[in-house]
Amino acid sequence: MDNPVLLTQEAWSSLQTAAWAVLILPLLSFLVNGLWLGRKHERAAGWTATALLGATLACALHVASGWRSLVLQHPELYPSRTALAWEHVWLNFGGNLSARLGFYLDPASVMMIVVVSAISFLVHFYSIRYMKHERGAGRFFALLSLFTFAMLGLIVSGNLIQTFFFWELVGAASYLLIGFWYTKPAAVAASKKAFVLTRFADAFFLMGVLLTGVNTGSFDFLVVNGPAAAAELNRTLGAGLFAFKLLSVTTVLLYMGAWGKSAMFPFHVWLPDAMEGPTPVSALIHSATMVVAGVYLTARLFPLFAAAEHTLQLVAFTGALTAVFAAAVACTQTDLKRILAFSTLSQLGLMMLALGVSIPTVANGGGGAVTTIANTAGYTAALFHVFTHAFFKSLLFLSAGVIIHAIHSNDLRDAGGLRKKMPWTYISTLAACLALAGLWPFAGFFSKEEILGAALGNGHFTFVAAGLLTGGLTAFYMTRYFVLVFHGSARTHASSAMNADHAGAAHHGPTEPLLMVLPLIVLTVPSVLVGWLGRNAFLKDMLPWTSSATAPVEHLEAHAGFPWMVLVATALALSGIGTGLYLYGRKRWTAGYADDRGPWLYRILRDKLYVDEVYSFLIRKVGSRFVITPADWAERKILNASFDQGGGVLNKLARGLSRYQNGQVQRSVATALLGLVLLLALYFSGSPLPHLFGSLK
């Protein structure tokens, strides 16, 4: 598929070069900052990294436009809208099985490289000011660039091995960035939790990858997603009680990776704790990019998942559960960033839900199961929501960073009345909140509506209800967040001091540093506009398998049939906002109860349904006590002790034997005779023992 005749060689090679640059530039930024600038020139590190990321963004845009003009405009050459900019074999496994490093361009990856490089660029820019007084800023930029490199490598992967490769690298970068303030015990614990928990999921993911490769003979998405691969996997292994469908097992294992990385319930516990990292990290990694990798992977393998019997149902179920659960918990949290983290969880749940509700029609053909994807509205909706969510959620995190920077606290109870002092932050946060709440014409409205439409179109009324409930709760907790931060009166010393006079401001620097506010303003634009502008493009061009041309048509019809959906969703969002305004604006509720009081439901939600406690129990009481301790005990008391005891036994034996050799002639002769008798007996018994080593010539 490389360079068909029709296209100019020049345009294609410029696309290839830009594609290389998209990966090389962030890597270069990592190396330059990590090896050279980081320790000595921290100011220069920030600017260098930002400049290189700016160049990355330019290259990503160039790739996107090249892809549009070369691939999208030529459906006759690229029926699946998919092209490979370049590819190299990394490791050959014999046969057709190989691990390759490639740059795979399809609608989803093109969209994602632009989003990731854009947000990464803005976050780098923002961090210059944010990290100005931090120790180790050079290390910070190096790692941020490393993350961007790994994330881009993950996005453009065309096969499962490359995906896993970069999947682990983003995890490692995330680990190092969560633990950036490595002297803070909470940050250290959070980093370990994030890595180990995602690693747990990744082990199963790796099994899924290997099973896919072994059974289908390929790791490539193009092959794996084809009907032949599904047919190959569609067999039953084992028998009786242990019979299982290989396809179901493989797809669920693959989904486990997404489950952990996108922090679906009950793997979600690492994400709120990950907020211990610097806020720009939360904005880039733990809201807009890395955590959507799971959604992205599920979308990548969508046809394979769709071919399995229950996998998509599992996807939808975990998504719905996480969406509602996290939204409910978000209503009770008092930490600015944790509210946003739970909001992220909830939105990721919605994306998964959208993917899961696309029910395929499975028609059993002659040779094996032939899968046709009947309604892919959910696929489009999920990626659309990934797109819109990236902008307004990173905006929310960056604005939270400005707020935290100003009041020196993460706590909602310390904020308040900041509207006057932080007008830019106020406006941009307002736009992001409305977008997240899903009000017209903000970005979130359109993608949320797509998701609900997809669920409804496929007759999943439970999931529609979950989506609507999530929408209402989202509007409520964002109103709570917004009102408590910006309205009312200053609640604590820090914020009141800041409000009272400019002396404090001069002491801390400006309340809204220009370099930090600029990215907020830039991000406000897409938070308002991308939904409205992007909707048609997404509906038209997002599917990589246009051969089933029916999909978009059906999708639109499904939509046209339910105009009341929009009204219900908007009404719920408005009532959520209304409730929030009433309770926190008019009745002046505070962020939470001062101590352990409060209704039981509130306490359960505030304590996050005690999932962390369950983990703690499993690790400390079960894992440690019943696995590690016995192993350690057996190692010492059985294996090593048996060696030590064996030494003692030998010693005793030797002492006994030496006592036997007492030097008396009678005993020596008797022993010699005994030996002779034994040897003769052996010889005449016809035992093979003397012949063991063949004939001793």
Binding site: N92, I161, G179, K192, F200, L206, D632, E635, F643
Partner: protein, 527 residues
């Protein structure tokens, strides 16, 4: 039967001999040094080992530039050697000095040379009276640099001799040559319960040697040709009954040396008590002789035995992978943590061998290299931290990242490599092993594969526990006085890291040649 005399003798075979003769000669020369001249002694050892590294690197380049023509005839079972030479040296038993290398042995030799070089640098402070490194054990042997380096060089000579020998008897002699210096190095220069550890290691490894000895002479007599030549013996089809008992004897004998569960108990005590350079060399290279022997001797010469027994040996292999990880989680001493992590990672080598397919075998060879480099790096950096903090206990350390950033960053990178992060050598190896295990026939292999893959969770737990405990967290009060790595140490660590990265990022060319070298073994197994 292939006549052995068909080799094209090349000058390079003399260079091959030099790889063990040089360390041995340098040991002899070191004996002539006055013991007070500590600086001269270590400079001389470094010079010798640098020269040896260059020598092996040149040989590796020569090998990869014109590798021996692989046996293209399908089903060819003859190993093609480069730089081969053959001299009879004990005519009574038909023992030959038969040397040569294929891709497996030359890469393992490069591993050994790199680790020996970095190990020399890492033990720069050994025996320096009043130097920066007040290694506790030196109390017993004040100013012991001379003995230390003499013994280290003898150990190195044995290791290189093993890798080039294609005569079982010669191999055995070189293998035994490694044991005595190992005992003395641990007993004299070690720390903790060093005498106990040295005795335990030596006794258990001697037990392994006894089995190897039995197996080798079994092969010699049973072959009917009275030969120790691996090349000749590989063409003999041994009787299945013989294979049935000789294979487990040989595999177990080498498996004990190769750190196989449950005979691994010599290694944690031994590695933890040994001085840094010896830990590096023991865990990084010496242990690989065991796995190498399993592959090159037990499996290659007794393929049907391998077919009969491999499913049995898969069990201790997999148990070792999981077991080592579990026990590592509980260790408080960094060296014990890494030693048990070695048990786990060496278990993976045996899992790879047990797959009996190309991907798995190749994974096993890659894992020998990867684990060698990675564990040596971890031991080196632990040793350097120990020299500064005078403790290896995880609970006694905290926040070292602030005071010794270079060593800490290397520790993090080595840790990430050890837990199998992609981009480092360990991942390339593990990926092949896992894939080979899933592709292997039989439910047992697949169940083993599942458990082996799950071990990557455990490795993440113990590595992060160490990294977070030692490097992160609030710095201790006295941490400010610690000094970061000196240039000598930096060179040692960077050399090792470079090897880990090259193998991890660009395994293709090496794998290609290793596949060529594995084909005769694999064809024998299929026979």
């Amino acid at each position: 039967m292939t006549p052995v005399s068909t080799f094209a003798y090349s000058a390079a075979s003399n260079l091959l001999t030099l790889t063990w003769a040089l360390p041995l000669a340098s040991a002899a020369a070191l004996a002539l040094f006055p013991r007070q001249r500590v600086s001269a002694i270590r400079r001389f050892a470094l010079a010798a080992n640098t020269l040896n590294l260059i020598l092996v690197a040149v040989l590796t380049v020569l090998f990869f530039k014109s590798p021996p023509v692989p046996n293209t005839s399908s089903g060819g079972t003859e190993t093609m050697l480069a730089f081969a030479a053959d001299h009879e040296w004990l005519s009574v038993l038909n023992v030959h000095y038969l040397i040569g290398v294929d891709a497996i042995s030359i890469t393992l030799m490069l591993l050994a040379a790199v680790i020996l070089f970095s190990g020399t640098l890492a033990s720069w402070t050994i025996g320096a009276p009043g130097g920066t490194g007040k290694v506790a054990a030196l109390a017993s042997s004040e100013n012991g640099a001379k003995e230390f380096f003499i013994l280290l060089q003898i150990l190195a000579a044995g290791v290189f001799g093993c890798f080039i020998s294609f005569d079982l008897f010669t191999f055995f002699v070189f293998n035994e040559l490694t044991l005595i210096p190992t005992y003395l190095l641990i007993a004299l220069f070690g720390s903790g319960r060093r005498e106990y550890a040295a005795m335990k290691l030596t006794l258990i490894l001697m037990g392994g040697s006894a089995l190897i000895f039995l197996g080798i002479f079994g092969l010699y007599f049973e072959s009917g040709i009275h030969s120790f030549s691996i090349l000749e013996l590989s063409q003999v089809r041994f009787h299945p009954d013989f294979q049935g008992w000789a294979f487990p004897v040989l595999f177990l004998g080498f498996g004990i040396l190769g750190n196989m569960f449950p005979f691994h108990i010599w290694s944690p005590d031994g590695h933890a008590s040994a001085p840094t350079a010896v830990s590096m060399l023991l865990a990084g290279v010496h242990m690989k002789l065991g796995a190498y022997g399993c592959l090159r001797i037990a499996m290659y010469l007794l393929p049907e035995g391998a077919g009969m027994w491999m499913n049995v040996f898969l069990i201790p292999a997999v148990v070792g992978v999981v077991w080592g990880g579990f026990v590592a989680v509980r260790q408080k001493d960094l060296k014990y943590m890494n030693a048990y992590s070695s048990v786990s990672h060496c278990g993976l080598v045996f899992v790879g061998l047990a797959t009996l397919n190309l991907i798995g075998l190749r994974g096993a060879v890659l894992q020998m290299l990867a684990h060698g480099f990675i564990t040596a790096t971890v031991f080196a950096v632990i040793g350097m931290i120990y020299q500064r903090t005078h403790t290896r206990r995880i609970p006694d350390m905290s926040g070292l990242m602030r005071s010794i950033p270079f060593l800490s960053v290397v520790f993090v990178i080595a840790g990430m490599a050890a837990l199998g992060l992609p981009g480092f050598a360990g991942f390339a190896a593990e990926l092949n092993i896992f894939l080979g295990a899933f592709a292997a026939a039989g439910t047992l292999a697949r169940m083993g594969a599942v458990l082996a893959v799950l071990s990557i969770i455990v490795s993440a737990i113990y590595i992060l526990r160490a990294v977070n405990g030692v490097l992160h967290g609030p710095p201790k009060e006295n941490a400010a006085v610690l000094s970061d790595a000196v240039p000598v140490e930096k060179i040692a660590l960077l050399t090792l890291l470079a090897a880990i990265l090259v193998l991890g990022l660009w395994p293709g060319p090496v794998v290609h040649r290793i596949d060529d070298a594995l084909m005769p073994i694999l064809n024998n197994l299929k026979r």
